[in-house]
Symmetry: C2
Protein backbone atom coordinates (compact mmCIF):
# COMPACT_ATOMS: atom_id res chain seq x y z
CA UNK A 1 0.00 0.00 0.00
CA UNK A 2 1.32 3.44 -0.98
CA UNK A 3 0.91 5.67 2.10
CA UNK A 4 2.29 8.84 0.51
CA UNK A 5 0.36 12.10 0.76
CA UNK A 6 0.77 14.91 -1.75
CA UNK A 7 0.51 18.65 -1.17
CA UNK A 8 -2.33 20.22 -3.16
CA UNK A 9 -2.10 23.73 -1.70
CA UNK A 10 -0.40 25.58 1.13
CA UNK A 11 -1.53 28.61 3.10
CA UNK A 12 0.66 30.65 5.46
CA UNK A 13 -1.12 31.03 8.80
CA UNK A 14 1.39 32.67 11.13
CA UNK A 15 4.92 33.93 10.80
CA UNK A 16 6.13 34.50 14.35
CA UNK A 17 9.43 35.01 16.06
CA UNK A 18 9.85 31.27 16.62
CA UNK A 19 6.75 29.58 15.25
CA UNK A 20 5.91 29.42 11.57
CA UNK A 21 2.56 27.82 10.86
CA UNK A 22 1.03 26.74 7.57
CA UNK A 23 -2.17 24.96 6.66
CA UNK A 24 -1.90 22.65 3.68
CA UNK A 25 -4.43 20.64 1.78
CA UNK A 26 -3.09 17.15 1.15
CA UNK A 27 -4.20 14.36 -1.16
CA UNK A 28 -4.56 11.14 0.85
CA UNK A 29 -3.82 7.61 -0.37
CA UNK A 30 -7.56 6.98 -0.84
CA UNK A 31 -7.95 9.98 -3.16
CA UNK A 32 -9.66 12.15 -0.58
CA UNK A 33 -8.36 15.49 0.67
CA UNK A 34 -7.39 16.44 4.21
CA UNK A 35 -6.15 19.52 6.02
CA UNK A 36 -2.60 19.29 7.39
CA UNK A 37 -1.56 21.92 9.93
CA UNK A 38 2.22 22.13 10.18
CA UNK A 39 4.72 23.91 12.41
CA UNK A 40 7.86 24.74 10.42
CA UNK A 41 10.98 24.89 12.54
CA UNK A 42 14.67 25.49 11.70
CA UNK A 43 15.72 22.49 13.81
CA UNK A 44 17.77 22.23 16.96
CA UNK A 45 20.74 20.63 18.65
CA UNK A 46 21.40 19.16 22.09
CA UNK A 47 24.48 17.82 23.85
CA UNK A 48 25.14 15.18 26.51
CA UNK A 49 28.31 16.66 28.01
CA UNK A 50 30.04 14.08 30.19
CA UNK A 51 32.90 15.26 32.38
CA UNK A 52 35.91 13.19 33.51
CA UNK A 53 34.01 12.04 36.60
CA UNK A 54 31.03 10.81 34.53
CA UNK A 55 28.84 13.72 35.52
CA UNK A 56 26.44 15.28 32.98
CA UNK A 57 25.89 19.03 32.60
CA UNK A 58 22.25 19.95 33.08
CA UNK A 59 20.55 23.26 32.50
CA UNK A 60 17.64 24.27 34.70
CA UNK A 61 15.33 26.78 33.04
CA UNK A 62 11.77 28.00 33.07
CA UNK A 63 9.74 26.54 30.23
CA UNK A 64 6.88 28.87 29.56
CA UNK A 65 4.47 26.44 27.81
CA UNK A 66 4.45 24.27 30.96
CA UNK A 67 4.96 27.13 33.44
CA UNK A 68 7.54 24.84 35.04
CA UNK A 69 11.26 24.71 35.68
CA UNK A 70 12.70 21.85 33.64
CA UNK A 71 16.10 20.21 33.83
CA UNK A 72 17.50 19.45 30.39
CA UNK A 73 20.77 18.88 28.63
CA UNK A 74 22.15 22.02 26.92
CA UNK A 75 20.34 22.73 23.66
CA UNK A 76 19.41 25.42 21.22
CA UNK A 77 17.81 26.29 17.93
CA UNK A 78 19.70 26.26 14.66
CA UNK A 79 20.03 29.48 12.79
CA UNK A 80 18.74 28.83 9.28
CA UNK A 81 21.65 27.40 7.30
CA UNK A 82 23.91 26.86 10.33
CA UNK A 83 25.91 23.63 10.52
CA UNK A 84 24.36 21.48 13.30
CA UNK A 85 27.66 20.31 14.74
CA UNK A 86 29.00 23.87 14.92
CA UNK A 87 25.73 24.99 16.49
CA UNK A 88 25.97 22.28 19.14
CA UNK A 89 29.56 23.24 19.98
CA UNK A 90 28.46 26.89 20.19
CA UNK A 91 25.42 26.20 22.38
CA UNK A 92 27.42 24.05 24.78
CA UNK A 93 30.04 26.77 25.16
CA UNK A 94 27.51 29.60 25.52
CA UNK A 95 25.29 27.83 28.06
CA UNK A 96 27.90 25.99 30.13
CA UNK A 97 31.31 27.42 29.24
CA UNK A 98 32.48 23.95 28.18
CA UNK A 99 34.47 22.97 25.14
CA UNK A 100 35.01 19.32 24.26
CA UNK A 101 38.02 17.33 23.07
CA UNK A 102 35.71 14.61 21.77
CA UNK A 103 32.44 15.42 20.04
CA UNK A 104 30.34 12.71 18.37
CA UNK A 105 26.86 12.37 16.91
CA UNK A 106 24.06 10.57 18.76
CA UNK A 107 21.72 10.78 15.76
CA UNK A 108 18.55 12.69 14.98
CA UNK A 109 15.34 13.05 16.95
CA UNK A 110 11.90 14.01 15.62
CA UNK A 111 10.07 15.49 18.62
CA UNK A 112 6.46 15.71 17.35
CA UNK A 113 6.11 14.13 13.92
CA UNK A 114 2.33 14.55 13.82
CA UNK A 115 2.42 18.32 13.34
CA UNK A 116 6.02 19.62 13.40
CA UNK A 117 8.96 19.20 11.03
CA UNK A 118 11.64 19.91 13.64
CA UNK A 119 14.81 17.78 13.61
CA UNK A 120 16.99 17.80 16.72
CA UNK A 121 20.57 16.62 16.26
CA UNK A 122 21.98 15.00 19.39
CA UNK A 123 25.66 14.92 20.35
CA UNK A 124 27.89 13.42 23.00
CA UNK A 125 30.72 15.65 24.26
CA UNK A 126 33.65 14.38 26.34
CA UNK A 127 37.09 15.57 27.44
CA UNK A 128 35.57 18.82 28.65
CA UNK A 129 37.40 22.05 29.44
CA UNK A 130 35.62 24.90 31.12
CA UNK A 131 35.73 28.62 30.36
CA UNK A 132 33.22 31.44 30.59
CA UNK A 133 29.53 31.13 29.71
CA UNK A 134 28.02 33.55 27.22
CA UNK A 135 24.24 33.61 27.59
CA UNK A 136 21.78 35.44 25.37
CA UNK A 137 20.37 38.55 26.98
CA UNK A 138 16.95 36.93 27.52
CA UNK A 139 18.32 33.53 28.58
CA UNK A 140 18.03 32.71 32.29
CA UNK A 141 19.28 29.38 33.54
CA UNK A 142 21.23 27.65 36.28
CA UNK A 143 23.69 24.83 35.78
CA UNK A 144 24.29 21.60 37.64
CA UNK A 145 26.44 18.52 37.21
CA UNK A 146 24.63 15.25 37.85
CA UNK A 147 26.35 11.85 38.16
CA UNK A 148 25.43 9.76 35.12
CA UNK A 149 23.87 6.92 37.14
CA UNK A 150 21.72 9.36 39.08
CA UNK A 151 20.56 11.02 35.85
CA UNK A 152 19.57 7.66 34.37
CA UNK A 153 17.65 6.97 37.58
CA UNK A 154 15.87 10.33 37.22
CA UNK A 155 14.96 9.48 33.63
CA UNK A 156 13.62 6.12 34.76
CA UNK A 157 11.60 7.46 37.70
CA UNK A 158 10.02 10.19 35.58
CA UNK A 159 11.77 13.22 37.13
CA UNK A 160 13.33 14.06 33.76
CA UNK A 161 10.55 14.55 31.22
CA UNK A 162 12.23 16.39 28.36
CA UNK A 163 12.22 14.15 25.29
CA UNK A 164 15.67 15.01 23.90
CA UNK A 165 17.26 14.63 27.36
CA UNK A 166 15.64 11.22 27.91
CA UNK A 167 16.56 9.93 24.47
CA UNK A 168 20.13 11.27 24.39
CA UNK A 169 20.96 10.14 27.93
CA UNK A 170 19.60 6.62 27.39
CA UNK A 171 21.37 6.36 24.02
CA UNK A 172 24.59 7.36 25.78
CA UNK A 173 23.97 4.69 28.42
CA UNK A 174 23.61 1.96 25.80
CA UNK A 175 26.43 3.30 23.61
CA UNK A 176 29.00 3.53 26.42
CA UNK A 177 27.56 0.60 28.37
CA UNK A 178 27.34 2.85 31.46
Amino acid sequence: MDLTEKTLSSEKIFDGKILHIRRDTALLPNGQEAVREVVDHPGGVCVVALDDENRVLLVRQFRYPYMQLLREIPAGKLEYGEDPREAAIRELREETGATAGKFQSLGELYPSPGYCGEIIRMYLARELHFGETDLDEDEFLTLERVPFDQLVQEVMDGSIKDAKTMAAVLKTKVLLNL
Copy 2:
Protein backbone atom coordinates in the same frame (compact mmCIF):
# COMPACT_ATOMS: atom_id res chain seq x y z
CA MET B 1 17.79 32.97 41.39
CA ASP B 2 14.05 32.96 40.67
CA LEU B 3 13.66 31.88 37.05
CA THR B 4 9.87 32.14 36.93
CA GLU B 5 8.14 34.05 34.13
CA LYS B 6 4.67 35.53 34.51
CA THR B 7 1.99 35.98 31.88
CA LEU B 8 1.14 39.64 31.28
CA SER B 9 -1.21 39.15 28.34
CA SER B 10 -2.30 36.44 25.92
CA GLU B 11 -3.51 36.69 22.34
CA LYS B 12 -5.16 33.87 20.36
CA ILE B 13 -3.36 33.50 17.03
CA PHE B 14 -4.82 30.39 15.43
CA ASP B 15 -7.49 27.90 16.37
CA GLY B 16 -7.06 25.02 13.97
CA LYS B 17 -8.22 21.42 13.75
CA ILE B 18 -5.12 20.22 15.64
CA LEU B 19 -2.97 23.27 16.35
CA HIS B 20 -3.97 26.01 18.76
CA ILE B 21 -1.50 28.88 18.85
CA ARG B 22 -1.28 31.82 21.21
CA ARG B 23 1.15 34.67 21.57
CA ASP B 24 1.72 35.78 25.15
CA THR B 25 3.67 38.61 26.64
CA ALA B 26 5.68 37.37 29.60
CA LEU B 27 7.48 39.15 32.41
CA LEU B 28 11.05 37.84 32.64
CA PRO B 29 13.11 37.41 35.83
CA ASN B 30 15.01 40.61 35.01
CA GLY B 31 11.83 42.67 34.84
CA GLN B 32 11.83 42.93 31.06
CA GLU B 33 9.09 41.66 28.80
CA ALA B 34 9.31 39.02 26.11
CA VAL B 35 7.02 37.43 23.54
CA ARG B 36 6.23 33.75 24.10
CA GLU B 37 4.67 31.88 21.20
CA VAL B 38 2.98 28.70 22.41
CA VAL B 39 1.36 25.68 20.80
CA ASP B 40 -1.44 24.38 23.03
CA HIS B 41 -2.04 20.66 22.66
CA PRO B 42 -4.46 18.25 24.41
CA GLY B 43 -1.64 15.75 25.02
CA GLY B 44 -1.04 12.27 23.72
CA VAL B 45 -0.32 8.67 24.59
CA CYS B 46 1.96 5.96 23.21
CA VAL B 47 2.45 2.27 23.92
CA VAL B 48 5.37 -0.14 23.76
CA ALA B 49 3.42 -3.35 23.11
CA LEU B 50 5.63 -6.37 23.69
CA ASP B 51 4.34 -9.76 22.58
CA ASP B 52 5.17 -13.15 24.14
CA GLU B 53 8.17 -13.53 21.81
CA ASN B 54 9.60 -10.11 22.81
CA ARG B 55 8.58 -8.44 19.59
CA VAL B 56 7.31 -4.85 19.57
CA LEU B 57 4.36 -3.65 17.51
CA LEU B 58 5.36 -0.81 15.18
CA VAL B 59 3.16 1.37 13.04
CA ARG B 60 4.45 2.63 9.71
CA GLN B 61 2.75 5.81 8.56
CA PHE B 62 3.30 8.86 6.41
CA ARG B 63 4.20 11.90 8.49
CA TYR B 64 3.27 14.96 6.50
CA PRO B 65 5.59 17.54 8.17
CA TYR B 66 8.61 15.44 7.13
CA MET B 67 7.06 14.05 3.91
CA GLN B 68 8.46 10.72 5.10
CA LEU B 69 7.22 7.32 6.20
CA LEU B 70 8.10 6.88 9.87
CA ARG B 71 8.06 3.79 12.03
CA GLU B 72 6.71 4.49 15.50
CA ILE B 73 5.07 2.75 18.41
CA PRO B 74 1.25 3.04 18.42
CA ALA B 75 0.16 6.47 19.64
CA GLY B 76 -2.60 8.99 19.52
CA LYS B 77 -3.95 12.29 20.75
CA LEU B 78 -6.05 12.59 23.87
CA GLU B 79 -9.54 13.85 23.53
CA TYR B 80 -9.88 16.80 25.90
CA GLY B 81 -10.76 15.33 29.31
CA GLU B 82 -10.05 11.72 28.32
CA ASP B 83 -8.21 9.50 30.83
CA PRO B 84 -4.69 8.88 29.42
CA ARG B 85 -4.59 5.20 30.36
CA GLU B 86 -7.98 4.54 28.76
CA ALA B 87 -6.86 6.48 25.68
CA ALA B 88 -3.69 4.38 25.40
CA ILE B 89 -5.67 1.14 25.68
CA ARG B 90 -8.09 2.44 23.02
CA GLU B 91 -5.34 3.59 20.62
CA LEU B 92 -3.49 0.28 20.91
CA ARG B 93 -6.66 -1.68 20.14
CA GLU B 94 -7.73 0.60 17.27
CA GLU B 95 -4.34 0.72 15.55
CA THR B 96 -3.12 -2.86 16.14
CA GLY B 97 -6.09 -4.92 17.34
CA ALA B 98 -4.19 -5.77 20.53
CA THR B 99 -5.48 -5.82 24.08
CA ALA B 100 -3.09 -6.29 27.00
CA GLY B 101 -3.25 -8.34 30.18
CA LYS B 102 -0.58 -6.15 31.74
CA PHE B 103 -0.52 -2.39 31.21
CA GLN B 104 1.90 -0.14 33.11
CA SER B 105 3.08 3.47 32.96
CA LEU B 106 6.48 4.43 31.54
CA GLY B 107 6.09 8.05 32.65
CA GLU B 108 5.59 11.34 30.84
CA LEU B 109 7.45 12.89 27.94
CA TYR B 110 7.61 16.59 26.99
CA PRO B 111 8.39 16.60 23.25
CA SER B 112 9.24 20.26 22.59
CA PRO B 113 9.31 22.27 25.83
CA GLY B 114 10.52 25.44 24.14
CA TYR B 115 7.24 26.19 22.38
CA CYS B 116 4.69 23.43 23.04
CA GLY B 117 2.83 22.33 26.16
CA GLU B 118 2.14 18.78 24.97
CA ILE B 119 2.50 15.92 27.46
CA ILE B 120 2.80 12.38 26.09
CA ARG B 121 2.05 9.57 28.51
CA MET B 122 4.02 6.41 27.75
CA TYR B 123 2.90 2.87 28.57
CA LEU B 124 4.21 -0.66 28.39
CA ALA B 125 1.70 -3.35 27.36
CA ARG B 126 2.32 -7.07 27.75
CA GLU B 127 0.33 -10.34 27.67
CA LEU B 128 -1.18 -9.29 24.34
CA HIS B 129 -4.25 -10.76 22.68
CA PHE B 130 -5.14 -9.85 19.14
CA GLY B 131 -8.51 -8.95 17.64
CA GLU B 132 -9.65 -6.65 14.85
CA THR B 133 -8.17 -3.21 14.18
CA ASP B 134 -10.50 -0.20 14.00
CA LEU B 135 -8.79 2.65 12.17
CA ASP B 136 -10.13 6.16 11.75
CA GLU B 137 -11.39 6.84 8.24
CA ASP B 138 -8.40 9.07 7.42
CA GLU B 139 -5.79 6.88 9.12
CA PHE B 140 -3.51 4.91 6.82
CA LEU B 141 -0.83 2.71 8.30
CA THR B 142 0.83 -0.67 8.10
CA LEU B 143 1.87 -2.80 11.04
CA GLU B 144 4.97 -4.81 11.77
CA ARG B 145 6.38 -6.76 14.68
CA VAL B 146 10.06 -6.15 15.33
CA PRO B 147 12.20 -8.23 17.72
CA PHE B 148 13.08 -6.06 20.74
CA ASP B 149 16.85 -6.37 20.25
CA GLN B 150 16.57 -5.34 16.62
CA LEU B 151 14.43 -2.34 17.55
CA VAL B 152 17.00 -1.17 20.13
CA GLN B 153 19.64 -1.54 17.42
CA GLU B 154 17.54 0.60 15.07
CA VAL B 155 17.18 3.26 17.78
CA MET B 156 20.93 3.19 18.34
CA ASP B 157 21.88 3.36 14.64
CA GLY B 158 19.48 6.26 13.99
CA SER B 159 16.91 4.40 11.86
CA ILE B 160 14.22 5.18 14.45
CA LYS B 161 13.98 8.94 14.89
CA ASP B 162 10.63 9.46 16.59
CA ALA B 163 11.23 10.87 20.09
CA LYS B 164 8.51 8.98 21.97
CA THR B 165 9.52 5.68 20.32
CA MET B 166 13.19 6.18 21.21
CA ALA B 167 12.46 7.19 24.79
CA ALA B 168 9.83 4.54 25.52
CA VAL B 169 11.81 1.70 23.92
CA LEU B 170 15.03 2.58 25.77
CA LYS B 171 13.14 3.02 29.06
CA THR B 172 11.67 -0.45 28.49
CA LYS B 173 15.15 -1.84 27.86
CA VAL B 174 16.46 -0.46 31.15
CA LEU B 175 13.30 -1.32 33.10
CA LEU B 176 13.14 -4.95 31.97
CA ASN B 177 16.91 -5.33 31.63
CA LEU B 178 16.41 -6.56 28.04
